[in-house]
Structure formats: structure tokens, C-alpha cells
């Protein structure tokens, strides 16, 4: 019989319930602020000290390797080279002798173009595959067959079709970026909660409204996961592709420095490639967080 309560007493209860969450955090904070501060200190220590220890260990191992191996540069030598290199990253002596900044930007540009084209084709195709079962069955086997193929295997086809190195490298990026985007978009569209689709049916929304108001926002986190995977792979592939095609670009630069037997530069390039990849990943993670909607239960 607890449902049989005075309506007057129910109203303030509902109001209080909605106001409570804003009040709650203050109390525990005041009560054990010292304990919490201590916890915070140890958490920051974990965040900063532990990675530093890891890095120090890596440098130590590196140093030990160089002791018995004269061809391998010591950490100190590499650091000095890096300072020299990054003090002037944007110089241009000849097409084959440009600063590391230009090389990184050239690679990033190829990734952006190849990836952008892949998004333009892959996301709409993913929508179709996820929404129309026939299209899904049509492309399913083809995608399963082509997805495991290394994008570099497509490079000769690109060279054949485009007769030029740069578009061929972009073509490889396009191929490697498109699969995660198609698949994740399709999965996202298929996983739109049935509740939302029922809302669309009851409101009798047009296909365009269903697409823009329900499918797209609901599938967006999946699409962004696809984008993140694509960018990650694209950044892996561009280095290899550029080693094969030549020109300006961080991959070619690594290969060029190998031909010059400039090992410190190769190590610097490895770190720089890793750093750029990390930045791309973090940027896309932030983007994904901004567009992930809370799945509200009740």
C-alpha cells in the first residue's frame, strides 16, 4: 500500500531527489580531506614517477647495448643529434634534403588525404551495409576477404593506376583506412537500440530524420572508434609505403638515413613517429569522448 500516499508529500520528495546529487560531494570532502590529499599525492607519484623509472630503465639498457657495439649510438650522442635536428626542423636544401618537420608534415598530409577519402567512402557505405541487409550480405564476404590483406600489397596496383608515387602512397592509406571505418559504422548502425527505432516508428519519422536524429548520433561513438583505428593503421602504413615510394616523408627519411648509415637519426625518427601517433590517438580519443552520449537507463 505504499503507493497510496498523499500527493502533497510526494512532490517535495521528488524535488529533493533531484537536488541531492549536487549537494552530496561536499560532505565526504570536508570529513577526510587529509586522507584524500594523501591519496592524491600517491596517485600523482604513480602517474609521474613510474613512467620516469620506465624511461630511465630503457635508457640504461640502451647504454649497456652500446658498450660492446660501436656502430650503435649512445643515448647521449642521440640526444645531441636530436637537439641539432629539432633546432631547425623546417629547412629545405633540396627535394631530398629537408628538415624533419617537413618530412613529418608530408607524411601527415598523405595520411590526411588518404584517410579523408576513405571516410568519405567508408562511412556512407558502412551506413548502407548496416541499414540494408541485402547490401550487407552483398559486401560482407568481399570485406572479409580483403580486410586481412596488407595495404602494401595494394601499392603496385596504385602505382599501375596512378603512374606516380605520391597518389600510390595515398591509395595504400585509403585501402587500410577504409575497412575499420566500414565495419565499425555498420556495427554502430546495427546496434542502435531497438527502443530508439521504436520511437522512430511510433513518431513515423522520415528516413532522413531517422538518419540524422537517431542513427547518426547513436552510431557516432562506433564511427569514431573506426576513425581512431583507421588513423592508427594509416600512420603505421605510411612509413612503410614511403620507404617504397620515396620522395619527401618520414618513412622515406628513415630509409635515406639508413643509406647514409646515420643511426642516431633513425632512432630519433622512431621516437618522433611514435610521438605523432600518440598525439593522433589522444586527439581522437578526446573527440570520441566529446560525442559519446550517456546511455540513460532511468
Amino acid at each position: 500500500m505504499n503507493a497510496m500516499l498523499k500527493p502533497d508529500s510526494a512532490e517535495p520528495a521528488a524535488v529533493a531527489a533531484s537536488a541531492a546529487p549536487t549537494r552530496r560531494p561536499r560532505r565526504p570532502l570536508a570529513a577526510n580531506s587529509t586522507a584524500r590529499a594523501r591519496q592524491q599525492v600517491s596517485a600523482t607519484a604513480m602517474k609521474i614517477v613510474a613512467p620516469l623509472v620506465g624511461a630511465a630503465l630503457l635508457v640504461l639498457v640502451w647504454q649497456l647495448i652500446t658498450v660492446n657495439n660501436a656502430s650503435f649510438p649512445t643515448p647521449m650522442v642521440t640526444l645531441q643529434e636530436a637537439i641539432k635536428l629539432f633546432s631547425d626542423p623546417f629547412y629545405r636544401n633540396s627535394p631530398n634534403d629537408q628538415g624533419i618537420g617537413w618530412n613529418l608534415l608530408a607524411s601527415l598530409q598523405r595520411v590526411a588525404v588518404g584517410f579523408g577519402l576513405a571516410a568519405l567512402v567508408g562511412i556512407p557505405l558502412g551506413f548502407l551495409i548496416g541499414r540494408v541487409q541485402f547490401v550487407g550480405s552483398m559486401f560482407g564476404p568481399i570485406i572479409s576477404l580483403l580486410k586481412p590483406v596488407s595495404p602494401l600489397a595494394w601499392l603496385p596496383i596504385g602505382l599501375l593506376v596512378f603512374k606516380s608515387a605520391n597518389p600510390a602512397a595515398i591509395w595504400s592509406i585509403f585501402i587500410c583506412s577504409i575497412w575499420p571505418m566500414i565495419i565499425n559504422t555498420a556495427v554502430g548502425v546495427q546496434r542502435v537500440p531497438q527502443d530508439y527505432m521504436n520511437v522512430a516508428r511510433v513518431l513515423n519519422l522520415s528516413e532522413w530524420k531517422v538518419l540524422t536524429k537517431i542513427l547518426l548520433p547513436s552510431a557516432l561513438p562506433y564511427i569514431l572508434t573506426g576513425v581512431r583505428l583507421s588513423i592508427g593503421t594509416a600512420w603505421l602504413v605510411i612509413v612503410a609505403a614511403e620507404m617504397l615510394t620515396g620522395g619527401v616523408g618520414i618513412g622515406f627519411w628513415v630509409w635515406d638515413e639508413w643509406n647514409n648509415l646515420n643511426v642516431p637519426h633513425i632512432i630519433i625518427a622512431i621516437v618522433a613517429i611514435g610521438f605523432v601517433g600518440l598525439l593522433l590517438e589522444q586527439a581522437l580519443m578526446a573527440l570520441a569522448r566529446a560525442f559519446t552520449y550517456e546511455q540513460v537507463s532511468n
Partner: protein, 268 residues
């Protein structure tokens, strides 16, 4: 009121074909609903009451039999039979205003100006006393408020029938009581025809003109119908002392726990 067969359900059967085989959910459902009537469907879990509601909504198609609304066959979902879903089903990326406006725009967008559409949306928000929550998103408001937005969304389309699938099931008792009272007021003001699924006996007696009690599944059907002849407006506190209220209540309890006693292992 006027049309005694506003919703007309004749000989409806519902069989689901699943991977595990066929499941006969509903058999021989015959029911008519008057215009302006408030009907609740009650029964143990798994008795197919939500299935029946979804059939009226047009979200499901019957395996056999016909469903008519205002003398037209129910061929699919339509804004004229709007649904308040159990879990409110608000779109989390839209504000409360936009959630309601989506339906309003669809129903009245072709005939009315933008200002009129806005006016309708704001009226719907005001009807459930949520004008202040206009720009909030669903995750920023409480469960009871979300359900109120769900009701506002359904009502804003001026449906011929309001279908509610355990709309207050997930709410705490106080909020539920408050929303039941609000619903009574809204229904009285809008003269809506309502079909509501519930598993709460008090809710059924308080709100309904008739309580449709369903037998246990599989192959569930309508067991008994209780005519609740309590005058409106109803006041829950006064009714608690009313002998007729207690009588209706025990009639439903008798049906649910004596005649249709659910096997203990399946009871939810």
C-alpha cells in the same frame, strides 16, 4: 462516450517464430475500448500484456485476427497511437524540448508555422510541469522527470490513443504516486483514450475504468475484466477508506494470486 468500439480487437492470435521454435504468446483476444476510456492490462510477467500493447501500437503484426482503431485497420505504428515506453526511450543527444519537438514537427509540421510548433512543444512541457527543464538533456534530469518528458512527447502529438507500457514501473513509490495523480489530471483535461500495461494492483484500480486481467502464458488470453465504477476525479487518500476500492482491489488480487497463481520459480 460516443464510439463504443473505438479500439476493436477481434480474435487476435500472436505466435512468435524464434530460433528455439514457435512460441504461442496470445490466443483468442477479443476486446473493445470506448473512446475516452482508461483501460489497464494486468497480469503476471510473461503473460503477453506488453505484446498486446505493441499490437495496438502497430509495432507488431498479429498472426491472426484484426485490430481496428476508429474503424480503420491498424497497419503499422502511427503518431495517432502514441506510446509511452517503459524505459522512457528519450533520445539522449536531444534536449527535453527537442525530444518533444521531434514528434510535434512530424505531426503538425506541414500545416503549422514554426512559432505554432514551438508553442505546442512548450505547452506539452508545461502540461507535465517541466518548463524549466526545456534545455536539459535526459541524463541531467531525474527518472520521474524523464518519464514525464516521455508522456509529454506522447501527448504533444495529440494522439487518438495513448498507449503506456508500465510507464511508472521503474520509479520509486513516491514519484510514482505523484505521476499517477498528474496523469489522472492530464487525462481528465485531454479526454484521452488510454491503454496502460501495469503490474501494480493499486495503480490499476486508481486509474482505470476497466481492468483487463490476463491469464498466464504461454497462449495467454483475457481472463476477466473488472469494471471500476468509482466516480472521478479520484482521490487516492479518500479511496483508501472506500469499501468499493478495497473490493476491486481484492477482486484483482484474487484473480492474480488464486486463480492465476504463478509458479514460484518463474515469479519475477
Amino acid at each position: 462516450m460516443d464510439d463504443p468500439k473505438f479500439i476493436d480487437i477481434e480474435g487476435v492470435e500472436m505466435v512468435f517464430h524464434t530460433k528455439k521454435g514457435t512460441f504461442h504468446a496470445l490466443r483468442e483476444i477479443d476486446l473493445t475500448v470506448r473512446k475516452g476510456e482508461f483501460i489497464t492490462l494486468i497480469g503476471h510477467s510473461g503473460c503477453g500484456k506488453s505484446t498486446l500493447l505493441n499490437l495496438i501500437a502497430g509495432l507488431l503484426k498479429p498472426s491472426d485476427g484484426v485490430l481496428l482503431c476508429a474503424n480503420r485497420e491498424i497497419a503499422g505504428p502511427s503518431p495517432e497511437r502514441s506510446v509511452v515506453f517503459q524505459n522512457h526511450s528519450l533520445l539522449p543527444w536531444l534536449t527535453c524540448y527537442e525530444n518533444i519537438h521531434l514528434g510535434v514537427e512530424r505531426v503538425f509540421g506541414k500545416t503549422e508555422s514554426k512559432a505554432q510548433l514551438r508553442e505546442r512543444t512548450m505547452q506539452a512541457l508545461a502540461l507535465v510541469s517541466l518548463t524549466a527543464a526545456e534545455t536539459k538533456r535526459p541524463h541531467e534530469i531525474s527518472g520521474g522527470m524523464k518519464q514525464r518528458v516521455g508522456i509529454a512527447r506522447a501527448l504533444a502529438m495529440e494522439p487518438k490513443v495513448l498507449l503506456m507500457d508500465e510507464p511508472f514501473g521503474a520509479l520509486d513509490a513516491l514519484t510514482r504516486a505523484h505521476l499517477q495523480d498528474e496523469l489522472l489530471k492530464i487525462v481528465a483535461a485531454t479526454q484521452s483514450t488510454v491503454v496502460m500495461v501495469t503490474h501494480d494492483v493499486d495503480e490499476a484500480v486508481l486509474l482505470s475504468d476497466r481492468i483487463v486481467m490476463m491469464t498466464n502464458g504461454p497462449a495467454a488470453t483475457i481472463g476477466e475484466i473488472v469494471d471500476v465504477k468509482l466516480e472521478r476525479p479520484r482521490d487516492r487518500v479518500a479511496l483508501a477508506q472506500d469499501a468499493r476500492y478495497t473490493e476491486y482491489r481484492s477482486a484483482v488480487l484474487e484473480f492474480l494470486y488464486r486463480k492465476q497463481a504463478h509458479p514460484a520459480k518463474e515469479a519475477a
